[in-house]
Structures are given as C-alpha cells and as structure tokens.
Amino acid sequence: MNGYAGKILRLNLTERKVDTIPTSKYQHWMGGHGMGSAIFFDLVKDKTIDGFHPANVVTMMTSPLSATLVPAASGRTEVQGIGVQSYPIGWFTRSNLGGRFSGMLKFAGWDGVVIQGKADKPVWIDIRDGDVRIRDCAPLSLWGKETWDCQETIWDYVLSGGKPGDWNSPSGKEGGNTTQRPAVVTIGPAGENQSRLACLIHDASNAAGQGGFGAIFGSKNLKAISVIGTGHVGINNPKMLMATRLWQKENYAFDLAHLRETWGSFQFQSPPAPIVEWKKGRPKIDQRPQACLGCHSGCRARYKDASGSEASCMSTSFYGDALSLDIQRSASDLINRYGLNACEMVFGLVYIRILQMFGQLKTANIPNCPLDFSKYGSKEFVGQFVKMIAYGNDGKGNESQFGQDISGGFVRAAEKWGRRKRDLDSGILAFPYWGIPVHKEPRAQVYWGYGTLLGDRDINEHDFDWIKWEYGQAKAQGKRPALTAEEVVKIIADKMVPFQGDLDMLNFSENNIYSEHMAKMVSWQRYYTRFWKQSMLFCDSRWPDFVNIHRPDKIGSTGVAEPRYIKAVTGKDFSFLDGINLGRKIWNLDHAIWTLQGRHRDMVHFADNIYKKRPLYPLDVPNAHLPGKENGKWDYYGYSKRTLDRDKFDEFKTRFYRLQGWDTATGYPTRAALEPLGLGYVADELEKKGKLGSK
C-alpha cells in the first residue's frame, strides 16, 4: 500500500543477523506505536524481564505519513520497549523523537527497526538503502564519544569519497544519489554507562528522552543507528496531498503577512518561533527557525554562535539558576551532548539543590557529594553535575558513590539514601508517579496526572495544555481571552468523538474531576494520542488543531484534516473515529502488557504529597486557570492550589476501569473487553498468567 516501504528491519545483535519482517503482517495497526506494541508482544515472550535484559526488544517505528508532505507528521519516530526509568517497575514504555530519522528510514526502504539481543562488543548500525551492516565501533572509536561527535564521525565515514552538499552515492555506484547527510540516532556517554537518565539523540537536540532508552542501547552495546536513503515513498493521490497541505496552510496556519501572535505555542497555528524556556529568554542574536522534516512551523532555532541550537522545551528548562543566559544555553547543549533526559535532569537538580540548601546532603545515609555549591550557577558546576550522571562518578573522572547513585535516577537514589517516601511526601522529590518527574500540575490538570498514572510515563501530551497559556497571555496583556471558557469547551468537546458534546469532560471544577465525564476525557486522550500522535505520528507540538484563531468560527481542522491526509497518502478511507477506536485497541494492548508486567489497581496511586499538600512550587504557569463550571457558570478558574482526594481518586479509577470494560477490583483487562477489539490472543496470554479480569 502507498505510504509504506513494505518491510521492517529486524536486527539480532547477539547473532549479528540482519533480517526483515514484512510490514503487511502488522499493517492493520497502521504504523508507529500500534505496530511497535504488536511486534513487542509477539517477540518478547516473557513480559516480566527487566529493561536491561538482552531479550528486551526495542522498536523504532515510522508511520505511513512519515517522509511525506503532511505537516508536522513527517519527521517523528516512535521508540518502544521495556523501560528502565520508571519505579518500582520499568514499564513497557514509549518515547518519540523528531528530526529526519523516520524520513530517511522510509527513503531507505524501511518502515521501522526492531532491535533484539545484545552485541558482544560495541557496534553501530550502518543502513544505506537496502544495505544494512552491523559494524564494530572500534575502527571509528565511536564508543566514548559525545552524541554530536559521534554523528559527525559517522557522517564522514558514510560519505567518504564524497562531500556533503554534492550528490553522493552512499550505496555505491549502483545505488541512488543524495545530497543529504545520514540521519543518526545515537547515545552519549550516559547511555554507554547505562544511566537510567540516558536518552537517544539525533542531530543537535532531537531526543527520545523518557524511558531510559539510551541506557537500553548501552546495555545492548549499541552506540548508534545511521540511515541514509535515496529512494521514495509512494503516494496514492499526489494532487490531493498537495492540495490538502495548501488548504491547511491557507486556512489554518500562521500568516506571515498578518501575524496574530509572535510567540511559539503548542498549536497548529503557531508561527515558527522557538519554544524555549531559558530563564533570561531567547538570545537576541542572529538565528533562524528550524523544523523537522515536512513541518510547517519549526519550534526551535539555530543560532549564530551555535549554542543552544535546536534546543526547545524541557532541554531549555534545565539549569534555570544559571548565572547567565549563555551558561544556561550551554547547559542545554551539555545534556544533549552527553545524552540525558532533560525532564529528569531539571527536577533532579532541583532536588539536590534543595537538599543542599536545607543541610540535608550531609546526613548519614547520603554519600559524600562532590559538588561545590559555592559555584552553583556557573558553567563549571553544571558541567560537573552532567558528567556525574553521565559517567556515574564525581564528574572529574574519579569514583563517587554519590555520582553513581544519582546516575541511576533520583528516586532510586533517594531510596538508597532511605528517604524516598519522606521526600516524595514533602514534595521536594517532585516525582509523584512511577518515579517519573512531575511536569504539569496534576492537582489542576488532572487529565495529565491521571493519564500518566494510568499509563507508563509522563504523558507529555499538550492537547489541552494551551488553554491555560492562552488565558495567561491574555491576562498578562490586560485583555480578555479570545474565547470564553464555554466557547473553548464547546469547540473541543465537539471534536472528541465518540464522546462528543459532553462539555463536562473539560470541567475542571472540584466537583467534576473524579466524575464519569473526566473518565471519558482521560479515555479519549489515551485513545487519541495512542493512535493519532503515537501511531500516525502527528507531532505533539502542532496537533491537534482544536481551536484556531485564524478562522472566523475559531474551529480548527482536527477531525477533518487527518483523515484527508491518510486518504491522500494511502488511499484508505479511515475516519477520525476509526483512529480513536484503533487507539482504544492499542491502549488495551499496552495495558495488557503492563498487567503482565505486574500492574494491579492497588498500585495506581499518586505519591501522598498530591493528596495531602498543595504544590510546593508552581509549574510553568503560576496559578494557571482552566475551564470550569462553578455554580452553573462556565469561566476560567484557578485550580492550582488544591489537593486531590485519595478516596475520590479511587472512585475515579473504578469509573475509568468500568469505561474500559476492565475488572474494577484488579484493573486487569477482561476477555469481554479484549475480544471485540481483536485481542483474543492477548486475553489468552493473560489467562495463562492468571491476570485476566473477570468482571
């Protein structure tokens, strides 16, 4: 079918064997996450293994829309496998990175990569169209290199005999030509040393940050995957694809001639301004916007001094106490070069800093901390901190138990130090679910917290997050929001099929956040993201297009645009609701895997702090306002200062499980829920393991 390369690359590192899986075997999952989960389920027989076990399988999947002109859907790669970040169990999890890796995979003729086993010594994968080699790292001295050096070394090697910017034939004279550099995904020293904070890096700052996939690569002795492709992706209706792209550009994207906003946001309509959170703002030096393959609006920039280039979001939040903007920008580069999970670095550094400020670092159970806090804010300090985690030492090449502890993650370090529960309860260790750092305030944006807790990782899905930003921006400018709370809720709820029209799904008032309505909201987001964002790989920064200020009616293109693109690329008639339904199936499969790993309803709770204490410090927007209905009146209300109710949250879980058709006593999936989804074989496996729900 058009949109697909037709085959998936299967690598067995233990046997150094290269094989293929026909994409058709998994095509009913459409792509990305759905395919990844299905492949994982088939290939990993024992789901209870640790993420570091050689039998763990990592999948890196594209979608039929990858490498196409579909805006903000062309450049992302979905990464899955058993993670090593979450606590106490490393859940089967996902991450995702942008850039051009997925496009290059498709142009090389591959719909994805499946990685099995463990190499006997460090290797990297060299993919040049259909020619795939498992190469030793030693000849290029790749093992030990930072992520940027590693990529440049591989570029030089693959293009040897040619030069970037000219036509090269990386597959030899019989192969095709390209002017492009290979797309390389690599780990840095953090991954090599199996830090649980280690991530995958591609180009300067595309990162699969969550899950610890860098450490998993490291455990498999896999340094990098390089791909360069000279082929093409078939398109069912090229004219329709082009026309649809231009229709959206004309009607829904920013208009440079009539700019309505000048800042970057997580919306389709956002202009191409970098979403950076450096404390002193964006550097006022020459720069350009920078976008992933095919994106209509880049969300990062490249700078005249190259510092902080391509960094955005969390990687720019790190080291907010830097003494200067230049130092903070260089800190963003550091975590990319060493290959570290930005979110955990942000909240981990806050934790260590608070312990130090309150004299707790010198308590008996904590090994000697080699950091000199008189230099806090300096480049030297952050350099040492980053290296401590990347190398598991004192950051200067010497052994350090403290460095080793935090290299394994901050919650595990706190556990070793005998203070995990205490610090989670007080809130200074801001990792309220599964040992994962907080991101958005779960007491206010409850769908974010619920989704994370009912899933496997910080959801990091901004589908509804922009609402508070829009309100905050308007308020800061002394204006009224462009739309009332009720108008926003109506537009969004109307698109949330099959629950459309239920406005209370977006009612964040105290009396509604444990309701059936909120269970629908969380369910919808789980289904929507599992399919449309993580399987079709529509980018989280630009989709969905719910509310669009460029339209007279303010109604965005989501629900209409996505199926048009699928039709144009694949020829398949596939509605927005079809995608939600397939998302439900994928969500059920993932939940079944977590159940096989040991998930039980009783485990699904926030850290006590979320129930007992108000937030210790505000996250992103202080006193963020959300839509709510109080005394029958819709408006934007501040909900950031409340706590959640443990018992009521427990009742919410019952409502949520019932909505899924799962066993409300255990949270286990039931046959009645799985079979209609075509997951009878999953029910069989659960039953065999004594984990099939009964009601």
């Binding site: 490498a67 196409t68 002109l69 805006p71 062309s74 051009r100 496009g103 142009f107 990529q151 440049e152 970037p164 000219d166 036509w167 095709g176 390209t178 002017t179 492009q180 550099r181 180009d203 300067a204 000279t230 082929g231 093409h232 992706v233 078939g234 398109i235 090229p238 004219k239 329709m240 082009m242 026309a243 792209r245 231009l246 550009k249 994207a253 440079l256 700019l259 000048t262 202009p271 191409p272 301004a273 006022k284 020459d286 720069q287 350009r288 916007p289 920078q290 976008a291 992933c292 393959l293 095919g294 994106c295 209509h296 609006s297 880049g298 490249r302 005249k304 001094d305 190259a306 280039s309």
Partner: protein, 241 residues
C-alpha cells in the same frame, strides 16, 4: 565526482577553461540585464548560440529557510507522484552543528541565461521550451540519459537529476526544474510554469522561496540568494538584514 576531475572534464569538452568561458560571457551579461525585464528577448553572445531567456526564476533566502525540506517533498510529489528528497529539483542541505547562517544552504536551478546543460545535450532533449516561457526543460521522450547535462552544470550540486525513471521502464532519464510547467501531478488547474504556480514557492511555510520574472544577476549567487525577510519576520525575533 570530485571537483578537480569535474574541471578536467569540462576543459576537455570545451577545449578551453570552461569557467573562464562562463566568466567572460557573464561579464557581458551583467551590466545589461540586471534588474531589467528581458523576458522573451534573445540572449546573444559572440561565442554561443542564441538561447532565449527564461521568463521565470526562483529566488531563495537561505537565512529565512527553516530547513523543513517541504519544498523538496513538494517538488518530487508534483513531478514524480512520490515523496523523495533525491528526486527533488531543489535541494536544501543542512548541518545541525554548524552556526547560523552557515548551517544551511538552498540550491535551486538558476534557469541560466547561458545554460551549459542545454548546450551540452546531444539530442536537444533539454531545451528552452518556447511553449512554457523558455524555461529550460527536459523532454523525457528525447532524453537518452547520457548525463551530459549533469556534468555540464557548473554548480554544486549539479541541478539536473539524472536517475532511473520507473515511467520509462527504469531507463535513466534527466529531470530538472521546469518551474512546474510540466509537473504531471500538478494540483492546480492553472498548472505551473512562469504564469502558473510553482510547488516549492506555494508550499514554503516561511516564504523563503520567491518567483520572479526579472532576470537575476548572473554573477555569483547574489542574484539568486536574496533577502526575503520583512518587518514581520523581525517581529518573530529573526534578523531582517
């Protein structure tokens, strides 16, 4: 192909230094055509056959480009019906680790006043097409895939794309920018060419590619790599000079 061997080939073909030849003819051209509208007027030079000037040109702003390569995807889409960076007539090349503005370049066909690709084509498959505003275009029926146009192009990367064509049973055929004049999968009823719509121009999200009927300066890159940044671009925090 490396630069020195390319130069040697060119010297052989022309009997004199090709670069010196081009430079001489450009020196004649620049003073008379820059900024004027010579569309349709024959370009004459003592040393070359008369080739009418193209009625359209693509200009790019390499400092405004966001590197999304949408132009490349659109180019291959409307011409070949597939998505491919390798089949695109316009090439965007970038390096994540380089500093702005040296991190990125865009290389488009210049529709040269004095097009070596046209002159070197042994079958006249590559010619200034009078039906389409004298755009330098390849007639694939006539193309024998010899690659002389590729070799003749003095720019890097060479603008003609000479590869196997599935529509011709895998025979090697040349393609080059035709300003979408004969794009088989053109989306608009008006079509392309100098009086129609060009895919790369239409799709570019940031307006980093512009079409003009004015003949750009043929000397160096300045006529083709231009400043398309306006006040609103500055409002987004980007340089406008």
């Amino acid at each position: 192909m490396n630069e020195s061997s390319n130069q040697a080939d060119q010297n052989d073909r022309f009997g004199v230094s090709r670069r010196r030849f081009l430079q001489a003819s450009r020196n004649v051209a620049v003073g008379t055509v820059v900024g004027s509208t010579l569309s349709g007027i024959l370009w004459l030079d003592n040393a070359v056959a008369a080739i009418p000037a193209s009625e359209g040109y693509l200009l790019v702003d390499t400092k405004k480009c966001q590197g999304c390569a949408s132009c490349m995807l659109a180019c291959s889409l409307v011409h070949e019906g597939v998505e491919s960076l390798s089949l695109s007539r316009i090439q965007v090349m970038q390096n994540s680790f380089e500093s702005f503005p040296d991190d990125l370049t865009i290389e488009q066909c210049r529709q040269c006043m004095d097009p070596p690709c046209v002159k070197e084509c042994p079958t006249s498959a590559l010619k200034a097409d009078a039906k389409h505003g004298n755009v330098r275009m390849v007639d694939k029926e006539e193309c024998i895939g010899c690659g002389k146009c590729y070799d003749a192009c003095p720019y890097t990367p060479s603008r003609p794309v000479v590869v196997a064509d599935k529509n011709y049973g895998g025979e090697v055929k040349s393609r080059k920018c035709d300003l979408c004049a004969k794009a088989s999968f053109h989306w608009d009823k008006a079509g392309g060419g100098p009086d129609g719509k060009r895919a790369c121009v239409e799709v570019c999200p940031v307006g980093a590619i512009r079409f003009t009927k004015k003949i750009p300066s043929q000397k160096g890159d300045a006529g083709y790599k231009v400043d398309l940044r306006d006040r609103n671009w500055g409002k987004l925090g980007y340089p406008t000079n």
